[in-house]
Symmetry: C2
Subunit: 390 residues, 2 copies
């Protein structure tokens, strides 16, 4: 298949490109390198050193023997998107090119508006381009489990049967996101559902859990590393805990740490995406996947890192810091996630084994972590946005 990856330079994008290319798919990526710039903006960098795209593609060829094509471009520009679809007419387009940080979206009004308007514009551009020049393309749009929030009932995969006042309907599950970023994904989901309804486009909407890990089966050489963020804006909880442990810093658990989320390793995330791509929806179908492996509370994760870290000779510690976010710190959480299993998904990475790999990889780049020690602690507060400076 011809698979296009929007955001191929990113954490999941690059790992997915390697995975699909090795599986024999023809991969073409597009990126505007904005995440590199935005991470620099907050004074941070990737824990793993990453090559330029040119060098990455060369390394993929030399190490794995695969050819990856690349176009530099911004999906917020419709003519770029349309030309891209016109030229490649991909069988699948995986949209990983959105601003993906909740704290970034909460910095101030400008970051809130930028996140929502750019994320929405890119998805609208993609569905319009598909409709106009490539209606056979299967769009794999990345959403997040965070769209659902933490309701006090089970979370279905996108839709559920509702009974109200004695009548029934099958409707989208209510969304209750918890940052402007997460809301941008909710907005996207609504838009994608509508694009499917009016034009019959094939769309898979992926509600992904938190992804962790430094490796996949294809990242077998330092030159093939994908980025790995650990600062308070761009890093996720588990990645940050590993970095803190390597640095001998206490893991910063926000509040009580009872916040429970679905997690999945990077290896299994790209496995799931491949399964979705290789098993496209029927013509005219819009389907939603809850893509995560196991739910854990933040505190449980810290305890796992503690255990593995201790075994490896680190001196881990857990600290509870004031929660900068607005979220329930203890709640019911039971999202369904059967559809990917039905496509053949099987967990290939155990959490503790993956934590061991991460701690080992990160130790190798301890100097890079040391250099950016001061950007790990939370500064972006959900309640008090910084004064806008623009």
């Amino acid at each position: 298949m011809i698979v296009a990856i929007g955001g191929i330079d990113g954490y999941i994008g690059w790992a997915l490109a390697l995975h699909l290319a090795v599986r024999g798919h023809k991969v073409v990526g597009i990126d505007n390198f904005i995440t590199r710039k935005r991470v620099e903006e907050v004074g941070s960098w990737s824990a793993t050193p990453i090559l330029t795209m040119q060098e990455r593609i060369k390394a993929a060829k030399e190490v794995l023997g695969v050819d990856i094509q690349f176009v530099e471009g911004d999906l917020v520009n419709y003519s770029v998107v349309r030309s891209f679809f016109e030229k490649y007419k991909p069988d699948a387009f995986v949209h990983l090119a959105e601003q993906r940080s909740a704290p970034y979206s909460m910095i101030d009004v400008y970051h809130a508006v930028e996140t929502q308007t750019q994320n929405i514009a890119s998805s609208l551009n993609i569905v319009y381009a598909m409709k106009e020049v490539s209606p056979h393309t299967h769009l794999v749009k990345m959403g997040t489990m965070g769209e659902y929030g933490t309701p006090n009932i089970d979370i279905p995969e996108g839709f559920f049967e509702v009974e109200y006042h004695g009548r029934k309907d099958y409707l989208p599950f209510p969304r209750m996101a918890s940052s402007w970023y997460h809301w941008s994904k909710v907005h996207d989901s609504g838009n994608m559902m509508f694009a499917n309804k009016i034009w019959g486009l094939k769309i898979s909407d992926v509600m992904q859990g938190v992804v962790y890990g430094t490796r996949t089966n294809e990242i077998v050489d330092e030159r093939l590393h994908t980025r790995f963020d650990f600062d308070e804006v761009w890093g996720t909880a588990l990645n940050r805990f590993c970095v803190q442990t390597v640095l001998g810093l206490p893991m910063t658990v926000y509040g009580k740490g009872g916040q429970t989320r679905g997690f999945i390793s990077l290896t299994d995330s790209v496995q799931c995406l491949r399964l979705i791509i290789e098993n496209p929806p029927d013509k005219g179908e819009y389907r939603v996947f809850n893509q995560f492996d196991e739910p854990y509370s933040v505190l449980e994760l810290a305890q796992k890192v503690y255990k593995v870290g201790k075994e490896m000779g680190f001196e881990p510690a857990i600290a509870h810091v004031p929660n900068p976010r607005v979220e329930a710190e203890s709640h019911y959480y039971n999202p369904e996630h059967e559809k990917l299993k039905a496509l053949g998904f099987k967990r290939t990475r155990e959490l503790e084994e993956e934590l061991r790999n991460m701690l080992r990889d990160l130790s190798r780049y301890k100097n890079r972590l040391e250099a950016k020690k001061d950007v790990i602690f939370p500064r972006t507060d959900w309640r008090r946005a910084r004064n806008p400076v623009r």
Copy 2:
């Protein structure tokens, strides 16, 4: 009270300004006159001749003895919004300043992106400005009944109790909108709910039905007319039917005409908004109103116009034209609308009486309607967006 009106130059905005000013409120409006420009863009104009804002304010003073203040500005620009709130610190801000046409949003990708990004940006700017410089302000945000779509179950006012797999929660009702414009309102609603959650802002979210009519109790002089659109992009079904009847054209019912929506007269719309403003939410409260009077199917409305038109000596006719929209043409529709009644809302206009007024008013401007005859028939098709020209 000090009441600010975003979009004061618009159909509801101007009518509301007059109504509130006569009730003794201090009214300050903001507008960038974009609707005037956008209506010109499609080759149309208001059926009722409308004055410039300066002349309008002068006429309001002379005819009604009220003072209305005005600022020209664009709510998409954060510094404009912040300065406005800093200067006026209104008790209520009514946000009527969004792009409000479904067909406009469906023209092509540029109109889709423009509608969604600008509507979202203006609302985000407003809640950020409130949080930063005017947290006591009560935001009255205009949504639309169209956010809910036409589910096969009753529609509550915003939230409902859900039971799923034996557990219960009180959640936002699922939204299923039917144009990029309607989806922009859904996105706004999510954002407003979240702004309330993180900052405790007082917000009333108004799911308004389709508004019709040329008059309110305050529009007693030709100089005080509010705008009245009738073209395929900016006019609504009922307004258009009246114009078609005055012109001796058949009323264009889209498809079978079984599409049922909630309707409310302009007079009663501004009555409802006043009740919402004069009865603000509690501190930290987010509340949703379904603001309409009665549901009618499009065909029923055409039949009403037929009856009244006949009585008045017109020669009305009903034509079924292919439906350019993607919507169910016969469906269950039972939205709840009790909360405004609890605040004291009473219907003051009967539909047939209001239709008589409209047909009389429009007859007076028949020349203006004749001149724009060719922009009434639908050209914007939900399934086939025009080729983008930008």
